[in-house]
């Protein structure tokens, strides 16, 4: 039975059960430290005032929104090349989480843009390409919801994911190619960061917290998806048995 082979990554489940409490605890700790540093330790910017604190959420959101698609691309390779059932699950569950982080990035960016740029939205290269990333996430989720058979859905989604991966470098380099309103890369750049250490340190702690949150959500989503597939398999087997009897 194809169904049973699909729903058999038991070792992942065992690992996830052991890992999840630690991940959740580490996430809570990192957020406690990061939020405290962001609100009470980090100084106000001399121009931006308190709104500078928005970047502590905005920047990690953007990073993880892109990381989500990168993870999905690796999983898509796993789906197409090795036909690994766990890769299907990894491909499917990353999409809503990546979409959520991208959404956080867009919303916080708009809230920061209103006082700083005087507008919620500009059609700037960076903003537009992140919006396109968000739309591609939604399209991919729609694709998953359009096909009933999860194995077929995985293969169709894998091809689309790899084609969409072309968008990632466009986002990364959009600020260098078209120098429009959004500021260029300032944390990771040749010649060192241009952000003052007092702001940079909380930002990195928040990035760690967001990454841990992403990992926690991702592992639990993968666990839930595996369990969901098992339930589906059991139901199908039940129906088969009832028909056979």
């Amino acid at each position: 039975m194809e169904w049973i082979a699909l729903a058999n990554p038991s070792r992942f489940l065992a690992l996830a059960e052991r890992l999840l409490p630690w991940l959740a605890a580490a996430t809570a700790l990192a957020f406690a430290a990061g939020l405290y540093a962001a609100f009470f330790v980090a100084p106000e910017d001399y121009q931006q005032g308190a709104t500078v604190r928005i970047i502590f959420i905005h920047v990690p959101g953007a990073w993880l929104g892109m990381l989500g698609w990168a993870i999905m691309s690796v999983a898509a390779l796993g789906t197409l090349v090795w036909r690994h059932p766990l890769a299907d699950v990894a491909l499917k569950t990353a999409a809503p989480i990546g979409a959520a982080f991208t959404f956080v990035c867009l919303v916080t960016g708009a809230l920061w843009g209103r006082p700083m740029w005087g507008t919620y939205w500009v059609w700037d290269a960076r903003l537009t390409s992140v919006l396109v990333l968000f739309l591609m996430y939604l399209g991919l989720i729609a694709l998953w919801r359009a096909i009933e058979d999860p194995a077929r859905a995985a293969r169709a989604a894998a091809v689309l994911t790899l084609v969409g991966a072309v968008n990632l470098p466009i986002i990364k380099f959009s600020v260098d190619w078209w120098s429009t309103l959004h500021q260029p890369a300032s944390v990771f750049r040749v010649g060192g960061s241009t952000i003052h250490p007092a702001i940079l340190a909380p930002l990195l702690v928040m990035a760690l917290a967001f990454t841990l949150l992403f990992a926690t959500l991702y592992v639990s989503a993968m666990r839930n998806e595996i369990l969901r597939r098992r339930v589906r398999t059991l139901r199908l087997l039940q129906v088969h048995a009832a028909q056979g009897a």
Partner: protein, 222 residues
Amino acid sequence: MTALAALLLRDMRLAVRVGGGALMGVLFFLLVVTMVPFGVGPDLKLLARIGPAILWIGALLATLLGLDRLLAADHDDGSLDLILMGHAPLELAVAAKALAHWLTTGLPLVIAAPLFGIFLNIDGSAIGIVALTLLVGTPALTFIGLIGAALAVALERGGLLLPVLVLPLTVPVLIFGIAAGDAAILNAAPFGAPFLILIALTLTSVVIGPVAAAAVLRHGLD
């Protein structure tokens, strides 16, 4: 090679005969161009300024309209299964189909664009340049759309999903196509760089589109 040529000719013949709908795209293109002045008002200066953009959006929507037929008709009557089982490499076979589709739906759009440019008050030399960007750029739309058409066939009822999946992928083509087109009406804007990037996008999609579409068909139809 003969098999691919036969496929190309067959698709072109089917497109121009009854039920083919090759010129439907041009009619739709004309309607989109006609609708815009109702939306933004008949200000000729404004229309001339946004003219290249209107032509590009119109061509994009018209291409999207036809994509549904690119593989679905062959899937319905079973000939797609024959192509899948045939000796010709599937990548080249779908590329031939996409080429035939572009020749019967994309090329008429390019030929019609200068006429529609007059409606939009774009002046003579600029019309030529915009048509040139469309000639170079619309193959990219068709070959990117080929991926969506393959997904739609694999989904059985993917017709609704097709535009949602294809449109985000066409954004770079639209950006550079309109950037090159704008160079024709704004003297300050550079033409060479966006035009060359547009050519690069077309060449890239001519490679990626058939490979991805063939992968979808192989994995999706079993």
